[in-house]
């Protein structure tokens, strides 16, 4: 067998083959259609489109054969591509080149082969071949047909390549378009000559439209939306691009957005084709929204401006300088001007002067050393020094600075901040002179863990306080401690220790003994501060409080006394069950002392007293009474009422309220202050007593009725005459039974009067008539004493407001008294007359007068005067006391005048009738 040789230009052939992009691709109808046509037209069982690469022949299309490739060295096609036109083997077995070829000797048992080279880019990349297992010879017509078919295959290969190129182009265009869409960039095409323009959707979107809304589109669409001020710039840039001065048209301009605001766009484009006569024809370009970028730029500028303004406004001076001996400034804020008197520009790059030149010469070395050390240790510095102002004055400044190093660790520059502390320094000086004015001592006290102590600073006043000079104690505090009172020393030492260990405020009040031996009270307080060396430094103030202290001690003593008095009062009020209260009738506010809570049965802790609460406790039957008393208090200022209250548990108690109230003019809040006493027990006793008296009077009167009745009947003689001695005895008995009757009546009367239970029935009484009645009643009694009653004339119209019965009782008592104390044969005078709005009654006797020593007690109960001879005049000793009570309870007053041996005049006065109106 003879293999085909390789063509001379095999490399170019292979390149053309690969460029055809057919190898190893799937079968395609366009080729299979052709091979089937060849099969039918030339009546051959096998038709192949065979492509030859370096190793094999591979079939792009095959009819009548199952395998898709064979080795190249046994291929017939390897021979066919070497020449032009049809390569034909009519009988392979008869051809020595192929007779032993395995494709001949075994399947597909080739006997006939005819192949036409397929040329792409003038290179034979393969063949169109027909194969038969029978020997055959192609006719001329058949040969021409096969060649024609081969040309058709070549055409298909070429077309296919073109189509693929187109597809790739389309794909890459799509890709570019997607990229453009992705970058949100608008695009435009402009025919400069015709004005015809194409925008993409994004172009319209940038200014808030849909492309359809802008139709029809032309170059004037752009001009319409562009900012008028930017059109000139755009035109100028275009001209420069057209002239070739600019490679691109590149313009940032504003366009009107649909919403009315301006949108910044970046337009960039290029002419891509020209007319034959050299004019620009087509221009393509992009259109990008740069509003945000513009905004960011503007914001950046604004914040830069703001920063600048800030730097200019902060009180200090910021700077950046080189680390050289001149302090060469790269930047220094404008506020250096007021501080130094020179503008900042003077210092920048030492244009006029260096910063070092304004630093006070004495401070320069120190400053340099501090800064050098800070640089060496790579830390910031903090220093105070002075600079010389242009006007020659020296200013204190405080500087904080820090060295700036590059990433490689090289010192680049110094950044810092300078503060004018002149005012502060002056303030400090003022403060020192001020502390000198203080009455106490301002000081610093330092104590070390080993017990050492000192006053590093003390104002001059320490001399007045402790009697030592500030410099005596700067290193050793012992002189101060030496004067502290021994009794107070432990407390002072303890308080210092306490403050030291807890770093809390030290405060102590203690005594010292002055050089003169006086005791001086001091009050000190100080704030501790922990120092790096372990000591504690206090900043404090100590003052002489002796006067205050003495006042305080006096006050304390007074308070104690007050406390004792108060306790006594509390005890008394407790024992008397008497509480105190204060009320504002205006606001209804009420305060109760503790006893009141108990009286009213309230829990002190949970009860809020109020006028309303108090009113709610009053027994319904007594409300009227209390209200009346309050009404009276508003007029008279005195509130005095006894009433019942109902406690929360339902028990009823009697209380006695008394209170005073200032007139409304002086008492706008209507404050009433008063007391309340639980008198339930007293009332109960009273009731018991009333009961007792009532019973006793009954028990006494019953036998008295019998005795008096019997004696009177016997003594009357109506039941028969008696012997003279018997008659005398009966008279005595009758007289004494009457006396006993009087006594009982008087006792009951005084009891009623004192208890305020005597009822009065007031009337307008004709005075003359009342006097007449009283006189008539006593004539028999007067006759017994040999006394004449003389009633003096009274104005017949004179009337008195009084209770008839009680007026008679009063007159009778006074008259009988006068009769008893008159000497026989004398007169007792009775008269009455009007004096202002009162009727004055007078009963005058001409007796011995009332002994002076007895006069003060004359109206007391059971007081009985005796005659100078020491004899008693009889009576109950209640008469005058009853008179006084009666007259006073009828709204009048009673009194007497008495001269020894000249007689006595008792008088009382009662309101004229009608005078109350």
């Amino acid at each position: 067998m003879q293999s085909a040789v390789k063509p001379e230009n095999e490399a170019a052939r292979l390149a053309a083959l690969y460029a055809s992009a057919l190898l190893n691709t799937l079968p395609e109808p366009r080729f299979d259609r052709l091979t089937r046509l060849v099969q039918q037209a030339l009546h051959t069982p096998i038709v192949l489109i065979s492509l030859l690469d370096e190793e094999r022949q591979w079939f792009k299309s095959r009819q009548g054969l199952d395998v898709c490739e064979t080795a190249r060295d046994i291929s017939f096609c390897g021979h066919a591509i070497l020449g032009e036109g049809v390569f034909q083997i009519t009988d392979a077995l008869a051809d020595p080149r192929f007779a032993d070829n395995p494709l001949v000797t075994s399947a597909p048992f080739i006997r006939f082969y005819a192949g036409v080279p397929l040329k792409v880019a003038a290179q034979p990349i393969g063949t169109l071949c027909i194969i038969d297992s029978e020997p055959r010879t192609l006719s001329d017509a058949e040969t021409a047909m096969l060649i024609g078919f081969a040309e058709l295959v070549e055409q298909e290969i070429t077309d296919r390549l073109h189509e693929q190129a187109h597809l790739q182009l389309a794909a890459s265009e799509l890709m570019y378009r997607s990229v453009l869409e992705g970058t949100r960039i608008g695009t435009w095409q402009w025919n400069v000559q015709t004005g015809e323009t194409v925008f993409n959707e994004r172009w319209a979107e940038i200014i808030g439209y849909q492309l359809a809304e802008l139709m029809p589109i032309s170059i004037s669409t752009w001009q319409h939306f562009a900012h008028p001020d930017d059109l000139a710039l755009s035109a100028s840039l275009l001209t420069q691009h057209f002239n070739g001065e600019l490679a691109f048209y590149d313009c940032k301009c504003r366009m009107k957005h649909k919403n009315g605001h301006w949108v910044w766009v970046h337009d960039r484009g290029k002419v891509i084709s020209w007319t034959a006569d050299g004019k620009p024809l087509m221009m393509y370009g992009t259109h990008a929204d740069i509003t945000e970028q513009k905004q960011a730029e503007q914001e950046l500028k604004a914040s830069r401006d703001q920063y600048q303004a800030l730097v200019n406004n902060i009180p200090g001076i910021t700077y950046r300088c080189l680390a050289d001996s001149d302090w060469t400034m790269l930047y220094i804020s404008g506020s250096i001007d007021p501080l130094s008197g020179y503008p900042a520009t003077d210092f920048i790059n030492n244009q006029v002067r260096s910063y070092a030149s304004v630093i006070l010469a004495e401070d320069r070395n120190r400053l340099t050393k501090i800064v050098e050390r800070a640089i060496a240790e790579r830390r910031s510095w903090h220093v105070q020094y002075r600079i010389t102002h242009r006007d020659g004055s020296v200013r204190w400044v405080e500087e904080r600075g820090t060295p700036e190093f590059s990433e490689q660790g090289e010192l680049r520059y110094l950044d810092g901040f300078i503060l004018d502390i002149n005012a502060e320094k002056q303030l400090k000086r003022k403060l020192i002179s001020l502390t000198a004015q203080l009455p106490g001592v301002v000081y610093q006290y330092q104590q070390w863990p080993d017990g050492r102590a000192a006053f590093p600073y003390a104002s001059a006043a320490i001399e007045q306080i402790y009697g030592v000079k500030p410099e005596d104690v700067t290193a050793d505090a012992s002189k101060v401690f030496a004067v502290i009172h021994p009794e107070d020393m432990p407390a002072v030492v303890n308080s210092i220790q306490q403050s030291m260990s807890t770093l809390s405020l030290w405060r102590s009040e203690y005594r010292i003994v002055s050089k003169q031996g006086d005791i001086v009270w001091l009050l000190g307080s100080a704030t501790p501060e922990k120092m790096p060396d372990g000591s504690v430094l206090w900043h404090g103030y100590i003052q002489d409080v002796t006067t205050t202290k003495q006042h305080y001690l006096a006050l304390e003593k007074a308070n104690q006394a007050l406390q004792v008095a108060r306790e006594r009062l509390d005890t008394a009020s407790e024992q008397a069950q008497m509480g105190f209260w204060q009320a504002s009738l205006k606001t209804g506010a009420l305060w109760w002392s503790p006893v009141i809570y108990r009286i009213f049965g309230f829990d002190e802790a949970s009860t809020v007293p109020s006028v309303a609460l108090f009113k709610s406790t009053i027994h319904p039957d007594d409300r009227q009474k209390v209200a009346q008393s309050e009404l009276q208090a508003a007029q008279t200022g005195v509130h005095d009422v006894i009433h019942r209250i109902i406690r929360p548990d339902g028990t009823i108690r009697w209380v006695h309220e008394t209170a005073r109230m200032l007139p409304e003019a002086e008492n706008p809040e209507l404050i009433m202050v008063g007391s309340v006493q639980d008198i339930t027990e007293r009332i109960k006793l009273q009731q018991l007593k009333d009961e007792f008296i009532s019973t006793v009077s009954h028990e006494l009167r019953t036998p008295l009725t019998v005795i008096k009745g019997a004696v009177t009947l016997l003594n009357s003689g109506m039941l028969g005459e008696l012997a003279a001695p018997a008659q005398k005895l009966l008279s005595a008995a009758q007289h004494n039974s009457e006396r006993l009757s009087h006594l009982i009546n008087d006792l009951l009367d005084i009891e009623k009067l004192v208890a305020g239970k005597m009822p009065f029935s007031f009337q307008q009484l004709i005075v003359a008539k009342e006097l007449e009645q009283a006189t008539q009643a006593l004539i028999p009694f007067a006759e017994q004493y040999g006394v004449t009653l003389q009633l003096e004339p009274v104005l017949s119209v004179l009337r008195v407001r009084s209770d008839a019965l009680r007026l008679q009782q009063t007159l009778t008592n006074l008259l009988s008294n006068a009769i008893k104390f008159s000497t026989s044969g004398s007169k007792v005078r009775l008269r009455a007359y009007q004096h202002d709005s009162l009727v004055r009654f007078e009963v005058q006797d001409s007796g011995q007068g009332i002994p002076e020593e007895f006069q003060p007690q004359i109206f007391e109960r059971f007081a009985q005067a005796k005659t100078p001879q020491g004899e008693s005049k009889g009576g109950t000793g209640l008469g005058l006391a009853i008179c006084k009570e009666l007259v006073e309870q009828m709204g009048g007053s009673i009194g007497f005048s008495s001269l020894p041996a000249q007689g006595t005049t008792f008088y009382f006065q009662l309101p004229v009738a009608g005078s109350e109106k």
């Binding site: 009954h698 036998p703 019998v706 009947l713 009357s716």
Partner: protein, 131 residues
């Protein structure tokens, strides 16, 4: 004048009887209790009833109420006698229908006159009110 006198104290009954019978010529029926008075009053047909207030069992007011129930006694004037006179009590007795209250100890010499006068006043009053 027929006077029914109810009084628990025997001695007072005696003094009163003597004063009224001997001095004033009254016809007096003395009873020691309200109960006794009730059994005898109707037959006696008093023209005046004199009642003690404080008595055991039936007191003066109760006796008065009971006597008023008896036929012919409803209109008879009643006077109370008491050793324990207080204003409020006096009012109570008057409201209960008494024409007057006499305080003990009373004056036996003038008692008859006093009772007669009180009855006449009462009569005059009732005549006035009848007109």
């Amino acid at each position: 004048m027929r006077v029914l006198h109810v009084e628990d104290d025997e001695d007072i009954r005696a003094v009163t009887e003597i004063a009224l019978v001997q001095l004033s010529g009254f016809q007096v029926l003395s009873c020691e209790s309200g109960q006794q008075a009730l059994t005898q009053a109707e037959r006696f047909a008093p023209q005046l009833i004199l009642l003690d207030v404080m008595m055991p069992q039936m007191d003066g007011l109760q006796t008065l109420a009971a006597l008023r129930q008896l036929p012919g006694l409803a209109g008879v004037p009643v006077i109370f006698m008491t050793a324990r006179l207080q204003e409020a009590e006096q009012q109570r007795y008057l409201s209960a229908g008494a024409i007057a209250v006499i305080e003990k100890p009373f004056d036996p010499l003038t008692l008859g006159t006093q009772l007669r006068e009180l009855c006449q006043t009462k009569l005059a009053d009732s005549r006035l009110s009848d007109v």
